[in-house]
């Protein structure tokens, strides 16, 4: 997978067509169409907010509603990118059996669709921010960096999982279960501070998860300084680097595994 090839004219236009197709087909035949990509996380947010914000009152954080929405939007992005990326190769099997083109373009195109969805969802976050009277900090400009971190992690996982799905179709079921557990292991609905009250070490451990670290940092820079970040929890430079290292490791590992297996996709699917 040479960088030069990724950006060759042919591959760029193919990537673009696949992203466009993906987007057009996603809500094919539904009346609300693209609106669903905003409505789905919005409803998840509404449910979570009613349960955890109003009933159980877990959210003692300032601007909990926006705090929750941003978390859900970022999590949805991570979940969509890994899930759709994972299934993309098997789903496009008919194409792979008939024409030779760089396989990573398929995974890339589905994760880019997820990225476009994220951008739409972030607009809702900004609207809610304004309604909630959240002040805009200059640090909010850091947000793209955290999104990039989640994207690279998700892409690495999508590469690994999509290649694994070609061999074992069980992969998608296992991943579904893992993601369900991970949703609760990541402080999306509850503030990390609740964990830190009980055990500081556990909160630190949770922050080693790159998604947790990125979501907490994004909330910190975007919404409230009450959001616990890895830098706030530890002074150890090495410790604070761990989530980034994990991300890079997963990305290169996934890319390597994908590349090694991709030449046999056509005959194994």
């Amino acid at each position: 997978m040479k960088l030069k090839n990724i950006f060759s004219k042919r591959n760029r236009s193919l990537l673009r067509e696949l992203v466009i197709t993906d987007f057009k087909l996603r809500y094919q035949g539904s009346i609300l169409g693209y609106a669903w990509s905003i409505l789905k996380p919005l409803f998840l947010f509404a449910i979570m907010y009613v349960v955890f914000g109003l009933m159980i009152k877990i959210g003692s954080v300032e601007h909990y509603a926006v705090y929750l929405l941003l978390g859900i939007v970022l999590w949805t992005f991570f979940s969509e990118a890994t899930n759709q990326g994972m299934n993309s190769i098997v789903a496009r099997g008919d194409l792979l059996r008939k024409i030779n083109f760089p396989k990573y373009i398929i995974v890339l195109s589905t994760t880019i669709s997820a990225l476009i969805n994220l951008c739409l969802n972030l607009m809702i976050v900004i609207i809610l921010m304004l309604l909630n009277g959240v002040e805009f900090h200059f640090s909010a400009t850091m947000l793209p960096i955290y999104i990039l971190e989640i994207y690279i992690l998700a892409l690495g996982l999508a590469f690994y999982l999509s290649a694994l799905s070609v061999k074992y179709r069980d992969t998608s079921h296992i991943w579904e279960i893992i993601m369900q557990a991970a949703f609760y292991a990541t402080p999306i609905i509850y503030p990390l501070a609740i964990v830190a009250e009980k055990s500081n070490t556990l909160a630190q451990l949770l922050l080693l998860n790159p998604v947790t670290q990125a979501v907490q940092d994004a909330r910190y820079s975007f919404i409230t300084k009450e959001s616990l970040t890895i830098h706030g929890m530890s002074d150890d430079i090495f410790f604070t680097m761990v989530p980034f290292l994990i991300t890079i490791l997963i990305f290169f590992g996934g890319t390597y595994y994908f590349k090694k297996n991709s030449k046999y996709f056509a005959e194994r699917i």
Partner: protein, 391 residues
Amino acid sequence: MSEINKSEIAISVKDLHKTFKLPHEQHSGIKQLLVNRLKGAKGYENQHVLKNINFEIKKGEFFGIVGRNGSGKSTLLKILAGIYTPDKGGVDINGSLTPFIELGVGFNPELTGRENVFLNGALLGFSRKEVESMYDSIVEFAELEKFMDQKLKNYSSGMQVRLAFSVAIRANSDILILDEVLAVGDAAFQAKCYDYFEELKRNKKTVVLVTHDMSAVERFCNRAILLSEGSLLVDGRPSIVAAKYTIHNYKSTVKDIYKKNNDKEGVVKFSIVNNKTILKYGEDIKINLDWKNLKNVKNVGVAIYKNTGEYIYGTNTIIDKVDLTNEEKITYNLKLNIGNGNYHFRFGFFGNTDQEIIQFVENGPTFSINDHTIAWGGLTELDHQWVTRNV
């Protein structure tokens, strides 16, 4: 083919091997993996699809690959197209290459004709700008001006093929790989295909064509190879390869019939006398039919079909008043007053009535009529005369 300048070679295949692992069970899952590991079983069988294939295709050559189903020709094609990876040996491609394993790759029924053109174009290696610039001529050639904003699922299959073909012929690669493209569509579409082939030939494109149609091979190819059970059997002039294909095809059908009837039932054996399977108009063909252990054969029928499906002629021993009592060997003699094409025999062994079928041979020996002196068209020549009437 001794000393050829390297730059004149478009495709070079050396010592090519391909094996597929065929899983014993259809399900590919972790459970199966664990079960197999515990049993110590491999869980798959190796199938050697291509064995030591060597050939070179020169630039500008129209190259045919023929072989029966399962001979490995599609696998070879997919390796040339870079879709499969060879186990051993390699393929050197000199120049840009576009494969047409199927027309309309990536076509999605939920997208409009227009959107599909852009998607398909991108898969064939065109940029959006390139597709835009040739969009009008694509639509015009496909004769689908009014339908481009409709979803592809509302197209008839003929319209889909036309659209796909119209995009495909824009491919401007040095090397084109075509698989059975001819098999789809009606006569008018086939004519368009043939025109396209002629154009490719005129433009000195390198073309690899995989087909069952020997007449197409003889008409277009400069060279062809015949594959059988993964090995390269013949490499040479199209007429020779076509002839070998026909004979080879017939030999393997004989083997099939033997196998089928080996255990308890009867045996049917048939052969074309002198193995003469490429004939001229009006020549005689002689077939020996032998059978054993078929109970009560009262009537033997012989029919000729064109390989494209038309029933040409058939008769049986009752119609022709031939007594078969105590006979197990018979020769059928036929004068072939039929036009150019590929034909095959079908045999039936009956009891007292046509309904009482004892044995039926669907794929009897094949033969071709290959006569360049024939100028008329159609299945056969009918008595006719022209009378000019001056007013």
